[in-house]
Symmetry: C2
Subunit: 508 residues, 2 copies
């Protein structure tokens, strides 16, 4: 049962007079529930509860926090079909995606739970004192990591589950010992409320402090901005657009007490395809890349939006093959009307630039939130002289840059902003000769892929999902994988502290 209210800690509250509705993406009609925007008073209550909960939650043993995360995972699974139906209704994504994303969400929670069952992840360091060291004695020093305080998480438009209410940011922050206030996404607030209800059930069941989790509705920017501005909020996690992420980063850095805002703001994820690999595997590569561009209607941070090739005859047939495959897929539904609108506007802006040709696009207009994918081409020269062509078009879109030679191809990579990923399709025996390309690529990205596609981000310790700005606001962290917890903790040292009063992980 959707109430449309906010979870202010454990309580469902909604006395405000502003509300919004989510959209049935496939039919482009409003869904029935009214989601009531939190009032300032409710916001402040949620923050005050989070601050109080922090004082308790940060000292709760890792094993107990792990039980909490595992319980959330169980409660999400217990939502069953209701969650799958709400997810597909609000996002227009297929049931298989709902099931996949639920599975990813619970496995993330379980992975963090497993990690925090022991102290290993903190890599605690114990240095015994040396009392007779000259000229000064060495103190006994013991270092651990402690949580930084209440975290605000913005639900991501494109991952209603795995990067929203109980997604990677929430799971890693709760694992670290930080309370979380989620700003729900206005286009999947129903999915958000269901997941929030599962979290609150776990809070009560496991006996976690009231305020360790809140879920806040709000349509525009004001609710989210008020949360980030509040002095008791100590960090922010965001996945979304560059403009949205940058706005929050600016608020976070210009507060009286600046706070870290980790914003993952997407990228065009350049893919370099060597001519030799096109000769030997044209169809296979065109197939992989077309699938990757179209996956989830192209609504992934790691969507391959820029394909860089050397201009020759083989490349021309590769482009044709790729365009054909994309067209063959037919039209697809986007997440909500705003995303469709932006997709149409931005793909048209690119199409209208000097030297750009549309190679693959189904003609005509499409109902509701359905769109055609689109493949454009441009020369290396035109790409280099026009920074508009470097911008991300969020959706099933890719731009092929045809370079006259390797020198120009290197210039093209060098001209790019920071990216989440870089991909190289090539034959193994070529790699020695491609070292310069690889070197410039490495400077631009957080993850480099050989003969694969950038979509399909593995959740594991070895994953990096982040990269030089503007891929993310701080390339020194990742938002996917177990290391995502590092965003919410700070080092803390005990000097000459009596053993009996040290945390158990710092005793010998």
């Amino acid at each position: 049962m959707i109430t449309g209210k906010n979870y202010i800690g454990n309580n469902l509250i909604g006395v405000g007079d502003k509300f919004h509705r989510t959209i049935n993406a496939k039919l482009n009609i409003e869904n029935p529930s009214n989601f009531i925007e939190a009032t300032s008073k409710e916001l402040n209550q949620a923050i005050s509860l989070a601050d109080k909960a922090f004082k308790i939650y940060k000292n709760i043993a890792g094993k107990e926090r792990a039980s909490f995360l595992n319980s959330i995972s169980d409660e999400i699974m217990a939502l069953g079909n209701e969650l799958i139906e709400m997810f597909t209704l609000e996002s227009g994504l297929p049931e298989a995606r709902a099931i996949g994303e639920i599975s990813r969400t619970v496995s993330q929670l379980q992975a963090f739970a497993k990690m925090i069952e022991t102290e290993d992840w903190k890599k605690n360091i114990i240095e015994m004192g040396i009392h007779d060291r000259k000229p000064f004695p060495k103190p006994d020093l013991r270092k651990t990591y402690i949580p930084i305080g209440p975290v605000v998480v913005f639900a991501a438009s494109n991952f209603p589950l795995a990067f929203s209410t109980a997604g990677g940011d929430t799971a890693s922050a709760l694992a670290s010992g930080c309370p979380v206030i989620v700003k729900s996404h206005s286009m999947h607030s129903g999915t958000g409320e269901l997941v929030a209800s599962a979290i609150i059930k776990s809070v009560k069941k496991i006996g976690m402090p009231n305020g360790v989790f809140s879920n806040i509705n709000g349509r525009g920017m004001s609710v989210g901005q008020a949360l980030v501005k509040h002095p008791k909020i100590k960090a922010v996690g965001f996945t979304g657009s560059l403009s949205g992420g940058k706005a929050l980063y600016n608020i976070g850095s210009q507060r009286e007490e600046p706070i870290p805002v980790f914003a993952e703001m997407g990228s065009v994820n350049p893919v370099v395809i060597s001519s030799k690999s096109i000769v030997s595997r044209c169809e296979e590569i065109a197939n992989n890349i077309s699938e990757s561009i179209m996956l989830g209607t192209g609504q992934f941070c790691t969507n391959p939006g820029l394909l860089i090739v050397i201009d020759n005859e083989k490349t021309i047939s590769f482009i044709k093959s790729l365009a054909d495959k994309m067209i063959k897929k037919g039209s697809q539904c986007m997440l909500h009307p705003n995303i469709k609108k932006n997709y149409l506007t931005n793909s048209e802006i690119i199409s209208n630039q000097e030297g750009v040709t549309i190679r693959g696009k189904i003609k005509g207009k499409f109902d509701a939130n359905f769109v055609s994918s689109q493949l454009n081409t441009v020369s290396g020269k035109d790409f280099l002289s026009n920074s508009i062509l470097h911008k991300e078009v969020f959706g099933p879109f890719s731009l092929v840059v045809k370079c006259k030679d390797e020198a120009e191809l290197i210039k093209v990579i060098n001209s790019l902003e920071g990216q989440l990923t870089g991909t190289l399709f090539a034959e193994k025996e070529e790699l020695k000769g491609l070292e310069e390309i690889i070197e410039v690529f490495k400077c631009k990205v957080g993850r480099i892929i050989f003969n694969g596609v950038p979509t399909g981000v593995e959740v594991s310790e070895a994953m990096t999902h982040g990269g030089p700005y503007p891929a993310s606001s701080d390339s020194r962290f990742t938002s996917v994988g177990l290391d995502a917890i590092k965003r919410w903790v700070r080092p803390f040292t005990y000097q000459d502290w009596p053993t009996d009063f040290l945390p158990s992980g710092l005793r010998l």
Copy 2:
């Protein structure tokens, strides 16, 4: 031989028409050399060289970078008396401090050298692919850390060696694979040039790329700000005042591409002294704290500037004893006229506040940069109602806050901003009853000390030198100890990359 020029990479250049001189701190007269401010052209040359050097330096093996750091350490030692004399001349600090700081500087370089001889510090992760995993194969993922790019380091006023030209920031950045441009400190530019000459000797001797290190002169803010604004600069290290650090942080965060600015901006380092410990160890504690306040004329980030006690008879004799010990030390020389001026102004501001009493101060005026230490007292009530009293007075100054009871003492700690350290003098058997105090303390500091003094920061893996804002601009890092290297690196993942082309640390 001091030239007064800038090291633009390996070349000594100085064609500008602005210059400054350092001060003989003890006599308060100018030293003879003219230090020529770098021109914009020279700045840009240094940055361009650093950018080019980065492309080479980041791929140089850890072992070779270690040789470079060890060579810098040797060349600094080879400067011998010339360095000691210049240090004491420019800083007014005694020879023993020069020797101590040289020792700390070279041991920092050697510690980072030792660390980077192997790959262990990166904690590389290798996850083999699972090709038959359902529903999707798991890719082969290998994560390491790579340097982020050219770093600007600001030489610290109060550590002409250990936190300046080849100090902790420079050593950790060079260790990580980042080129460094040092903005020398205008009050110890001679010491800076000598150390820079040692680094450049090592660059040539070990065959490191030209531009891996530059040393830039400049008196005001403009040179440093121009460095931080430059798009090719990727991070900043700073130790100094809150106003200076905040200004650089703002520039770094408001650039088109924001960059991390790690600013360590000092703190008042609160010390709580329990009444029981005063009863049992009054003289010992007064002695330790007076030494700590006076050490280096109080010019340490970790100077104990705030002493928090319960107001009773025993406390009154403790304050008297402490004041007597401080006065007995006599006057001491500060680093330079500006620091003396600020010390006199700021200690007077505190003294003039409602309810503040001066308990220990030698009367009269002092020549050159000499000053008297000062001990003030105030009630908990007055402290809580006046935020001016919470500000740091940089120098041999401390404010005793006399609280009426434990509840007020907790309020006092709770009212403080973020701090580098927190210290508790107490009897072990009391600790159980002091848990609430310890809990609020932990929220405020990066390092907590039992029955010791906050000065004397150990350089080791277990050290945390950083803390909640404004102690530092990002509490998730430390600027002292081996983990300081983490500020300059970012995670990087290879996906399905052919083994032969992986960095050696990522092969099995």
